[in-house]
Amino acid sequence: MTLQTDKSTDYTQPGVAGMVSDWSSDRQAFDMPWGKLMMWIFLLSDTFIFSVFLTGYMNVRLSATDSWPLTSEVFALEIAGTHMPLVLIAIMTFILITSSGTMAMAVNYAYRGDKRKTFLLMAATAALGASFVGMQAFEWTKLIVEEGVRPWSNPMGAAQFGSTFFMITGFHGLHVTAGVIYLSIVARKVGRGDYDRKGYVIVEIAGLYWHFVDLVWVFIFAFFYLW
């Protein structure tokens, strides 16, 4: 096994000089493993997917002829006799952001070589993600069964409200579900010690994906629920 020894490649320089030396080096442009760079590029591509989803949503919201329902009221819950707008969404957001915290800690422990803590924190992240999906399922059920919202129509106003809601949260929910499965698999392998030879960068790669899913939710929360 040979390490990178080309003298023209000095990754330690800060700022623009470091960037120039990275890009003008031979062999590799970024000081990171292949999988990590590939995840970054995938996330860039996925960013475009969600951007187009949100742009499309904004466009149909503006072009819709019927009035847009008041999201804070649609997503309100009656808890113990108190009317609380957006309460479920707030809890879901809190859970997802918390899961990013546990994920970051898992990455930290993975690089320290603490397999047990890494496994537990990743399992906790996956569990938080699963509970997010569960609450989303509850939210969907409530809208479909109790409020009569359908992708093609709803009693509250513009049909595009239901269309974009199910499409965007559904697509994001699929990402979270895939993330939960991904994290579970990696966590199990971490627990078994499968990565002792290859190194634990896979935990960070899974973490990148997870933080991305979390970040996307923040934008969906801002543009769909708060607007």
Binding site: G56, A64, W152
Partner: protein, 587 residues
């Protein structure tokens, strides 16, 4: 933290044993490339036959009973979609991208071979889904390759019940396949180059493929999302793209959607798609020209930056496809300006190609003929692009045969010319044998002259105002009768060109067995793919040790050198001049 260069870990490479692992479920980039290419060429032939059928109707209306308006629209749609996506994109990136990237940058394979294999099988699935629409009730969609709603999913459009659904599903699968391949290409170029291979020493082929792949990864999302939205409109009855409308006397349930949104999303994908096809072609033609003119490419750095600039600009010009859709004049001005700015890096490239030929030792080999042919067709197509990029000129010419002529010259025939050049150029490497030169030259002249016989008259038809996509003109006052004889002449030329492609197919397959042995590096090329220990390269490409790169890819006719080319893996000697050292001296 320094990482182990995974390219050096030869123990990870397991040579495939059985026929199935070697040729079917292969993870070798070269086999995947050939699988991609054969599939793409096969669907391309389907699309070629469709274009012939279209031309039969246009050239000789009311002669062929089996072409009714429904079938005609389906031919138009499938021809366009197959050619742009399933042939050109797949062959240039899936085929040549896969074959050339690891070989030209000195890697053993793509960084994730398994994902690469999945990419091909997903692509095959998307092709099968697309072709299955020919056998679905109602046939394939006839909405035009742009699939504009509302008509694409409404009754009255051919294939409105199944064809459009299969088309959208196939596109989504294709995008997944492309993403898996594309992530591999980009990561491989960035991270898996060999010793001494800096980005600025990469052959332009790699620069073109690399930039095009990035464009694809950023542009295909728009197509994916619009396919999902249109699928929902069609299947679930949502109204993303569908306004309230009356169809066949019935008022539909759709309300409040935006058809123009689809056009924006489609062309946000569609314009970069032009360059996804063009940039790899630009790159490959540069290498073919330099090799066969025995001269370094003129202005290598400019060529690289032009590729990058064209790639960047291609994301902010999409609405020039929509001047007639209704747009604020300020936006028309903006998009016309950005469109014309693209002409600058593109013109730089054309000048550099011509200046590469200038005083070169030009060998008129078959690949060179096609490469020079490309300069002609691309320049002609590019110049008509300047007409269409201006709002006021585009308005009367929009949706006429002028547009058909323009884009067939610039992004239909031109990349195809380069593909032929590239196939002939790299055929000795891929197959180990030479093709038949006489057949190759005949193929070139039929194709090249035929191109002009087909598309030059179309410009005149466009000026006359003959609209595209029409099944028949009927008795239209403003179109003179002579237009019909022009159409008939175009059809005859198209059929001849179509049939002459059999020369190419025959040549390729005949030479596999009967061509003479090519040996190492028959063209005397400098880039790494010709420096492999075996021809064709074996699994793992480089034998025991990766090559080491000391110079750029264009050291042709260096004064004082022994041969008129110096391969990239030859160390710099004291005797040679400074021509090869472009500020990249070995540190």
């Amino acid at each position: 933290m320094q990482h182990v260069a995974i390219a050096d870990q030869i123990d990870e490479m397991h040579d495939p044993q059985s026929f199935v692992t070697k040729y079917i479920w292969s993870q070798d980039h070269k086999v995947i490339a050939i699988q991609y290419s054969l599939t793409a060429i096969f669907v391309g032939l389907v699309a070629l036959v469709l274009s012939g059928l279209m031309r039969l109707q246009l050239g000789f209306p009311d002669t062929f009973d089996f072409i009714d308006p429904t079938a005609y629209l389906q031919f138009v749609t499938m021809h366009g979609m197959i050619m742009v996506i399933y042939l050109l994109t797949a062959l240039l990136l899936g085929g040549f991208g896969n074959y050339m990237i690891p070989l030209m940058i000195g890697a053993r394979d793509m960084v994730f071979p398994y994902l690469n294999m999945l990419s091909y099988w997903m692509y095959l699935l998307s092709v099968l889904v697309l072709l299955s629409s020919f056998f679905a009730p109602g046939g394939p969609t006839g909405a035009g390759w742009t699939l504009y709603p509302p008509q694409a999913i409404l009754q009255g459009t051919p294939g409105y019940d199944w064809g459009i659904i299969l088309m959208l599903a196939s596109l989504a699968i294709f995008i997944i396949a492309f993403t898996m391949g594309g992530l591999n290409y980009v990561t491989t170029v960035l991270q898996a180059r060999t010793h001494g291979m800096t980005l600025m020493r990469m052959p332009l082929t790699i620069w073109g493929i690399f930039t095009a792949t990035i464009l694809g990864l950023l542009a295909f999302p728009a197509l994916l999302v619009s396919a999902i939205m249109m699928m929902l409109d069609k299947v679930l009855g949502t109204s993303f793209f569908m306004p309230a409308l009356v169809s066949l006397g019935e008022s539909l349930d759709y309300t409040g959607g935006s058809p123009v949104l689809f056009q924006h999303l489609f062309w946000f994908f569609g314009h970069p798609e032009v360059y996804i096809v063009a940039l790899p072609a630009f790159g490959m033609v540069s290498d073919v020209l330099a090799t066969h003119a025995r001269k370094n490419i003129f202005g290598y750095r400019m060529m690289v930056w032009a590729i990058v600039a064209i790639g960047g600009l291609s994301f902010i010009v999409w609405a020039h496809h929509m001047y007639v859709s209704g747009m604020h004049p300020a936006f028309g001005f903006f998009f016309a300006t950005t469109t014309l700015i693209i002409a600058i890096p593109t013109a730089i490239k054309v000048y550099n190609w011509v200046l590469t030929l200038w005083q070169g030792n030009i060998h008129l080999t078959v690949p060179m003929l096609f490469a020079i042919g490309f300069i002609f067709t691309f320049t002609h197509g590019g110049l008509t692009g300047l007409f269409l990029g201006n709002v006021v000129i585009d308005l009367p010419l929009s949706d006429t045969y002028f547009v058909v002529a323009h884009f067939h010259m610039v992004m239909g025939v031109s990349p195809v010319m380069v593909l032929f050049a590239a196939i002939y150029h790299w055929y000795p490497l891929i197959s180990g044998r030479m093709f038949n030169v006489t057949l190759g030259k005949a193929h070139f002249w039929f194709t090249f002259l035929g191109t002009y016989a087909i598309y030059l008259p179309m410009h005149y038809l466009g000026f006359l105002g003959v609209p595209r996509r029409y099944f028949a003109m009927g008795s239209t006052d403003f179109i003179p009768e002579s237009a019909q004889s022009l159409n008939a002449s175009i059809t005859i030329s198209a059929l001849i060109v179509g049939v002459s492609q059999l020369l190419f197919l025959y040549n390729i397959f005949w030479s596999l067995r009967h061509g003479k042995q090519a040996g190492h590096n028959p063209w005397g090329a400098t880039s790494l793919e010709w420096q492999t220990p075996d021809v064709p390269p074996h699994h793992g490409n480089w034998g025991a040790e990766l090559p080491r790169v000391y110079r750029w890819a264009y050291d042709y006719s260096v004064p004082g050198a022994e041969h008129d080319f110096i391969p990239q893996n030859h160390p710099v000697t004291d005797t040679e001049g400074t021509a090869g050292d472009h500020g990249e001296s070995e540190k």
